[in-house]
């Protein structure tokens, strides 16, 4: 089992969801985060105050999958999130010790396998 974390542009979040859905990866959490990944800073001006915005809005996907779904998930994230410009985001894959489905108490692989039907 792995936890796949994808940090992507907010405007690509819908495309990512669509790609994940098509790849039959179900069970996704997402949250809005702010981050910095080497893209050029935006300059904003509020009256006399000019600032460089060092952090950009990003969306963070967290997807727990069984090992044979890791590659599919990564591909879907890349497909959905890529624009080719700096700032497209990153994917981190980390080992996952345990997973439990609260409703049934199923553990691990069974817990991260979507319920069919």
């Amino acid at each position: 089992m792995k936890l796949v974390i994808g940090i992507v542009r907010p405007e690509k979040a819908n495309d990512v969801l669509e790609a994940l859905y098509r790849a039959e990866v179900r069970g996704v959490s997402m949250s809005r985060v702010q981050g910095h990944g080497g893209e050029l800073d935006r300059v904003e001006t509020y009256r006399g105050t000019t600032v460089k915005m060092g952090l950009s809005e990003k969306v963070r996907f967290e997807i727990a999958v069984s090992d044979d779904f890791v590659e599919t998930t990564i591909e879907a994230l890349c497909d959905g999130a890529r624009t080719g410009e700096v700032g497209d985001g990153k994917i981190f894959v980390v080992p996952l010790e345990r997973a439990i489905r609260i409703r049934t108490g199923e553990a691990d692989r069974a817990a991260v396998t979507p319920v069919s039907g």
Binding site: E11, Q34, V43, E44, T49, K52, G54
Partner: protein, 437 residues
């Protein structure tokens, strides 16, 4: 008829002038209110850009109106456009405007606020994708080439008014003018890149309701001031502006219930606008009873178009055509049927024995939209030949607030690195960035 309202011809009336000063301020407020209404209807990343399109309308339309627009609309009674004798407000002073008891300067100011809001209304068709610079050029030209011409036709002694078309407060120039121009603008500028692929939802329904409420409030100046004084038609229009939108709201609630079993807030805000628009041309001409019927009936075509339009490929984003074009069209025709001399002292509609009135209303309902659509279409094609109308796809994706204005509506301030301040700090001093090692 025995109620003495009017002062002697050719004299300034203090009461009339006082009311028109207040009414002008009320109508000016409608434009920021529209900005709020529109801003709530777009996605959060486009809030400021959408609002700024309305604010820019105040800046540009006021300048063009003072320069040439007012003169083209209200100088003389040429059939298509007026003259240029009032260009740059030449000869616009304290003497009363013909047919009123208010100084021409007040008349100019009141009419200026109409031009401003109409320009702002059109922006609803192109929000979330049109480059701000191109919008500024378009708005300035549109205010003269489209609005001033239509205003002349309906209000300034142009061919529609001369033949007897009744338009109390702007069914032709303001409502149909903006609605059908919006359709043309949406077609020329094209749909947002995500239109039809993703759900593009309003980001703040409270703004939408508050904006609609403030628009309604301002509309008392808009319609109530279109009698140009404290007189019978002004009073009639004022009270009609109160009751018509209420009837539209009730019918809208019923339609919402029938369609989705729930009464929606954004639907209610829309209904307020539709009701106010419908009574705009008819305000001073129909009885309060018919005004209620107008409010109820006008809901139907606008509702139908609002439900149908998003299923088409036409991204007329904020439904200016449905809310303004359609309801204005309906209101203009309604006069031709239910106008009553007993209430307006001018003309009867066909239901009260005068078929010609309906004919002239129908002509206005065809000519106004035809000119607005065609002129806007050509104008935008020409502007588009010189500069690009749309933001780049990436800019549209990131959002128009940051890319067009370098600001965010909901800036968190986290991660902001200070570059300059007003306080005159020596050189840029980053405060939110770690010292370089």
């Amino acid at each position: 008829m025995a109620v003495p309202f009017a002062a002697a011809a050719g004299a300034i009336d203090a009461g009339d002038t006082a009311w028109m000063l207040a009414a002008t301020a009320l109508v000016l407020m409608m434009t920021p209110a529209l900005g709020l209404f529109y801003a709530g209807l777009v996605r959060s990343k486009n809030t400021l850009n959408t609002f700024m399109m309305s604010i820019a309308a105040i800046a540009l339309a006021l300048v063009t109106w003072a320069a040439v627009g007012y003169s083209l609309a209200f100088d003389g009674s040429g059939s298509i456009v007026g003259g240029l004798h009032h260009a740059f407000l030449h000869g616009v002073g304290f003497a009363p405007r013909a047919g009123t008891h208010i100084p021409q300067l007040v008349f100019f100011a009141f009419q200026a606020t109409f031009c401003i809001i109409t320009v702002a209304l059109v922006s609803g068709a192109v929000v979330e994708r049109m480059r701000f610079g191109s919008y500024l050029v378009f708005a300035a030209l549109w205010s003269v080439l489209v609005y001033a011409v239509l205003a002349h036709w309906a209000f300034g002694g142009g061919w529609l008014q001369a033949h007897g078309t009744l338009d109390f407060a702007g069914g032709v120039p303001v409502e149909m003018g903006s609605g059908f121009s919006a359709l043309a603008a949406a077609l020329v500028v094209g749909a947002r890149k995500d239109y039809g692929r993703q759900a593009l939802l309003p980001h703040n329904a409270v703004y939408v309701l508050l904006g609609a409420g403030l628009l309604w409030f301002g509309w008392f100046g808009f319609n109530g001031g279109s009698g140009f004084g404290v007189n019978r038609e002004g009073v009639l229009a004022f009270s009609n502006t109160l009751i018509t939108p209420a009837c539209t709201l009730v019918v809208w609630f019923a339609l919402d219930l029938l369609r989705g079993r729930k009464v929606t807030a954004i639907g209610a805000a829309t209904a307020i606008i539709v009701g106010c628009v419908a009574i705009t041309p008819a305000g001073g001409y129909v009885s309060p009873g018919w005004a209620m019927a107008l409010g109820a009936l006008a809901a139907l075509p606008s509702y139908a178009i609002i439900v149908w339009r998003p299923r088409t490929r036409v991204d007329e984003t904020l439904d200016v055509l449905a809310a303004h074009g359609t309801a204005g069209f309906f209101g203009i025709l309604f006069i031709g049927v239910f106008a009553q001399v007993a209430w307006n002292g001018v003309s009867n509609g066909i239901a009260y024995g005068d078929a010609r009135q309906l004919l002239w209303q129908a002509l206005a309902a065809l000519a106004g939209p035809a000119y607005a659509f065609t002129a806007t279409f050509v104008l935008l094609k020409l502007v588009g030949a010189v500069m690009s109308l749309r933001a780049a796809e990436l800019e549209e994706a990131v959002g128009m607030d940051v890319t067009q204005h370098g600001e965010e509506a909901y800036a968190s301030g986290e991660g902001a690195i200070l570059v300059t301040t007003e306080a005159g700090v020596d050189g840029p001093r980053p405060v939110a960035q770690p010292e370089p090692a």
